[in-house]
Amino acid sequence: MSDPANITLVTMDGTTFTVPSAYLHRSKLVQDWLRSEGDKQAMEVKHVTPFVLQGVLNFCEIHAEDTSEPLADPADPTKPFEADPRDDAFRGMPDDQLLQFTMAADILQIPELVRLTAQEMASRIDGKSPDQIRAMFNPDDLAEEDVDSDNEMGEVGEEGAISK
């Protein structure tokens, strides 16, 4: 590892980003990589586009000096979500970008960003019909499968368990 104070990330198309390692102290994936493979030149972040990674790194930079305790579980009910004005840009992004940021946050294992994007997705689902939600987030498996086939969604079990 050439510079322990910085880390280089490589996106799916080979674009590189070199940022201070401290920015990513809340990313479990990066922290694990630094411990096990920190002597390598760069960390590959597959499935993440340069645009999205840039956004994620912006979030990390904004929150680099936050002193709050790292979040163990993004859906921890004991830690209610409080909107932070510094994150307004993330809340205002288009639906497809929000989905990609949510996935990137999950891939990089940044619970604070997962919570932010998950909460924003939930607020956009609020009051919407299934069709409207599909139009917003267009999940892949729906596009590939014929939802009109018999029992496509699976039977709903007595307590809501789904048996396909």
């Binding site: 998950a118 919407k128 987030f137 999940p139 018999d150 496509e152 969604m153």
Partner: protein
């Protein structure tokens, strides 16, 4: 362009933000999310509380938008094969809800109800709260027409009126079209001949709850309800003697009997004596009664209680409350009953007449299955029944209920010689 599917854990994190703090609220958003795709369904559906579907519209007032959304989601669920509507077992309709009766909504709301019921193939309980309808009787008519898809499956019907009134044609017609009806609950309805006639025709009736009625010719129903298992009448505004006579004659399978009378409409004089005799007949003739509850019945006296001691061989639960003429003093007929209430487990004798200590001791000693007793409202000086309870293994809890272990046996050394 289709987006890559989100991992289950991530979906779960998102859906947790859709769960309201108040879990009694129907979670439309979660149900909606569960219908987006198979993978969303797998994660969202177990988080949705099925109780809200099982008992639809039970918990609070609903708006027209919510009614419409319910219909849309259940339609979608049906089209996708998830068929959530089949979970619906109970439906409550309140004519005071926002969706009811606002022009031009009545027809639209009725269409939603019709569509929901067409999918709810397992609906068995219909609960109608007929408060003053916003759209008048025309709105009610539209409502009744919308209930048609549920006619074949409804087994229990509850009709609540906010003010005492006769049943209107819609109710009578509805009852006539429910072939499986075996349970009825009516509140503040005048049992006029037309209603009695249609109720009497439902011969499968097993459970009847009638609150604040004018019973009139209700005995004509009882005469046709030979399958009746439970009868609950509270707050009648007129005499019930003929009803009780018919119960004794026609309901051999009766297991539970509940009768509560308000002081305002108490029965006195000859009517009280007739009622006492008729109630005693029920105890004698209905040999399967397990639960008997009488509250505020001035007509019954000690002889009635003795009849239950002698004839109530299947009684497990007996409650006699505020029946001031029930008196069990030393030297009474009760002393000739060697083995009272052999199956009795729960006994309530509250605020009645007089219960001599010897009577209390006889009951505690000989009713071996008895383990819960509520005995309050007796403060006459010199009574030693609290000591008797303790001697027979009972302890009193914070709610003034005396309890002892099931199968309690008095230690040999304490048994009087």
């Amino acid at each position: 362009m289709p987006q890559p599917d989100l991992p289950s854990e991530l979906l779960s994190d998102i859906f947790h933000y859709l769960i309201p703090t108040d879990t009694t609220i129907f979670n439309y958003d979660l149900l909606s999310a569960s219908l987006v795709s198979p993978s969303w369904h797998r994660v969202a559906r177990p988080l949705f509380a099925n109780t809200h579907l099982r008992s639809l519209f039970q918990d609070r007032y609903y708006t027209h938008a919510e009614l419409a959304r319910t219909r849309v989601l259940l339609d979608e669920s049906h089209c996708l094969g998830a068929d959530d509507a089949r979970l619906i077992e109970r439906l409550r309709i309140r004519t005071s809800d926002d969706w009811f009766g606002f022009p031009p909504i009545p027809q639209e709301s009725a269409d939603h109800i019709y569509a929901i019921l067409a999918l709810a193939r397992n609906l068995t309980d219909l609960h109608l709260n007929l408060n003053v309808p916003r759209g008048g009787h025309d709105a009610l008519k539209t409502l009744y027409a919308s209930l048609k898809p549920a006619h074949p499956t409804i087994r229990r019907l509850a009709v609540f009126h906010s003010i005492f009134s006769p049943a209107h044609d819609g109710i009578i017609d509805l009852i006539a079209h429910l072939p499986k009806l075996d349970g009825i609950e009516l509140y503040r309805l005048d049992l006029l001949p037309e209603l009695v006639s249609v109720l009497a025709s439902r011969e499968k009736m097993k459970h009847a709850v009638i609150r604040r009625p004018r019973v009139r010719e209700f005995h004509l129903c009882i005469a046709r309800w030979s399958n009746l298992r439970s009868l609950h009448i509270s707050g009648p505004m007129d005499g019930c003697e003929r009803v009780w006579e018919e119960v004794a004659r026609s309901c051999p399978l009766l297991e539970s009997f509940y009768y509560k009378r308000d002081k305002l409409f108490g029965v006195e004089g000859p009517g009280a004596r007739e009622e006492n005799a008729a109630l005693s007949q029920i105890v004698t003739q209905c040999q399967k009664i397990e639960s008997l509850y009488l509250d505020g019945i001035a007509g019954i006296g000690g002889e009635f209680l003795v009849a239950t001691m002698r004839e109530g061989r299947t009684l497990k639960n007996l409650s006699i409350i505020e029946c001031e003429n029930v008196v069990m003093e030393e030297g009474g007929e009760w002393e000739n009953v060697e083995k009272p209430w052999p199956m009795l487990e729960h006994l309530t004798l509250s605020s009645c007449g007089i219960f001599d200590d010897a009577f209390v001791e006889r009951v505690l000693e000989r009713c071996e299955r008895l383990h819960t007793v509520i005995f309050k409202g007796y403060t006459k000086e010199g009574l030693r029944w609290p000591t008797l309870f303790k001697t027979h293994g009972f302890e009193i809890d914070a709610k003034n209920v005396w309890r002892r272990e099931l199968g309690y046996r008095k230690p040999f050394s304490q048994t009087p010689v």
